[in-house]
Amino acid sequence: MRKIPAPAVNAENKAFFDAATNGKLLLKFCNDCKRSHHYPRALCPHCFSDKTEWREGKGTGTVYTWSVLRAVPDPYCIAYVTLEEGVTILTNLVDCDLEKVTIGMKVKAVFKPAEGGAVVPMFTAA
């Protein structure tokens, strides 16, 4: 099983990883332009407002694209998943048959421990 490298947690992104420890997927939402974004920033990348807040995502979506890295000892599947909130996020697809992954496949969030104790959201077949 591939070891999950630790994310570099900092003051700006800490809430995201704290929530993941509790099994929640957080997204940043902008109270000015009313759009979500990812990766999370203090300042909205769409309208540059600083009136952003954390909101809990549903944790469901569909596969936008994917690739299994095969030329390593423990192959794994990287993917972009488009969430119901309309944001597409980089992730891994896990705990499912990687030979049966397709674009458009429905997926749901699962939470996996990384090295060093942090938890990161990943996705599996819904």
Partner: protein, 392 residues
């Protein structure tokens, strides 16, 4: 202010090495600088502008200025990965047009092959990168990043692995004539499809080589170029148009089916006053076969989504295809020094316009060349840079 006609490429040199365990990175930078100066017929003392990117060891340009004993009045170290060198040529032309320097040296060198770099291992540039915490845990590497773009392109446009393979086949047809190429063997579509899957849908032969080495070019003002041209008795290479453009993840509004060349291409063509069908030879960044296919679409050599058809059946092969590309064998077969392929695209463009390419790949009456840089990753964020060059 336009840079059209304000600057010339007067020197170009590609280091012949592909593996340099016995050289330092600084030494390689200095060796390519010396090679480009000799090619131009200039002395080190003529250089009054210096440009380098993140491959140069040290803080910006400082260590290399010191190492090479350069005394310049203009310096710049814009870092956009493999597309840096097109950006440098463009910015050098701007500096020349503004009267801030006369002769600008641009160098690239690296030894990732000797240092054991692989495209399946992660690279983190800086602990404060805001995106890294959302990419590193998921094992984002160069190969699977481009693979995700390839997969989506296939999904939306029906692009196939066979079509991608034609890009490699064309590069290999050219590389067989390059004595310095790392891979000189001609390959077939079947060879590419039979090569091991690295990050599906990309096979091993869809990926560029990892090589040590480097290259340098010298940009000069017209008066300098013309005086050198009289001495060297060869065609001059004039910069007609240049542009750079960035594309990122847009806060999660992801669309991996196009590159920033949709912006850099039209801007450069407009400045040059030419159109894609006018281009005689295209030197296109080829980190992967998909990189070439998408860039050709985005530059307007074919309609969006028709890149697969465009690259097929040998259309990129010099002598038989409609658009000869990467006539040195490109990054796919010849050289990708320091994991950065922009410089070698400019160097081969200069060779072609001078008529100094290998006779087997030299494009007849080659008047207009396009040299495209791509830096970063198509799967996340990248900078595309376009140069259009003319024989005078």
């Amino acid at each position: 202010m336009t840079i059209k006609g304000k600057a010339y490429l007067v020197g170009a040199f590609e280091h012949p090495t592909r593996k340099a365990p016995d050289k330092s990175v600084a030494q390689l930078h200095a060796e390519v600088a010396k090679g480009a100066l000799e090619d131009a017929g200039l002395a080190r003392e003529d250089v009054d502008g210096y440009f380098c990117a993140g491959d140069a060891p040290g803080l910006g340009p400082m260590s290399m200025l010191d190492y090479m004993g350069l005394k310049v009045r203009y310096m710049e170290s814009t870092e956009t990965g493999g597309s840096s060198y097109q950006v440098h040529v463009s910015h050098a032309a701007q500096a020349i047009a503004q009267g801030r320097c006369n002769v600008a040296l641009v160098t690239l060198a690296g030894r990732p092959r000797s240092e054991g770099h692989r495209g399946t291992a992660p690279r983190v540039w800086n602990p404060n990168m805001p995106d890294a915490p959302f990419e590193e845990p998921y094992g984002l590497v160069t190969t699977n990043s481009y693979a995700m773009a390839a997969r989506r392109h296939m999904h939306e446009y029906g692009t196939t692995s066979e079509q991608l393979a034609w890009v490699k086949v064309a590069a290999s047809m050219h590389a067989q004539h390059n004595p310095n190429a790392m891979l000189k063997e001609v390959v077939t579509v079947k060879d590419v499809l039979d090569s091991p899957m690295i990050a599906d849908p990309l096979h091993r032969m869809d990926c560029c080589v990892v090589t040590d080495g480097g290259g340098a070019v010298i940009v000069a003002r017209p008066e300098v170029a013309k005086s050198l041209g009289r001495n060297r008795r060869r065609p001059l290479v004039r910069l007609l148009g240049a542009a750079e453009a960035f594309k990122g993840q847009a806060g999660g509004d992801i669309n991996l089916t196009y590159t920033a060349a949709v912006v850099s291409g039209p801007r450069a063509f407009e400045e040059a006053g030419v159109k894609p069908p006018d281009i005689d030879v295209a030197l296109i960044y080829d980190s992967f076969t998909i990189t070439v296919l998408m860039i050709l679409e985005d530059l307007g050599f074919c309609k969006k989504g028709e890149g697969g058809k465009f690259v097929s059946d040998g259309n990129l092969i010099s002598g038989s295809g409609k658009l000869p590309f990467n006539t040195d064998g490109g990054g796919l077969c010849n050289n990708h020094p320091g994991n950065r392929g922009g410089m070698t695209k400019i160097i081969e463009a200069v060779r072609q316009l001078r008529g100094e390419a290998h006779p087997k790949v030299q494009v007849k009456d080659c008047k207009l060349a396009l040299a495209q840089g791509s830096g970063g990753q198509l799967g996340t964020r990248h900078v595309q840079s376009t140069l259009i060059l003319e024989r005078e």
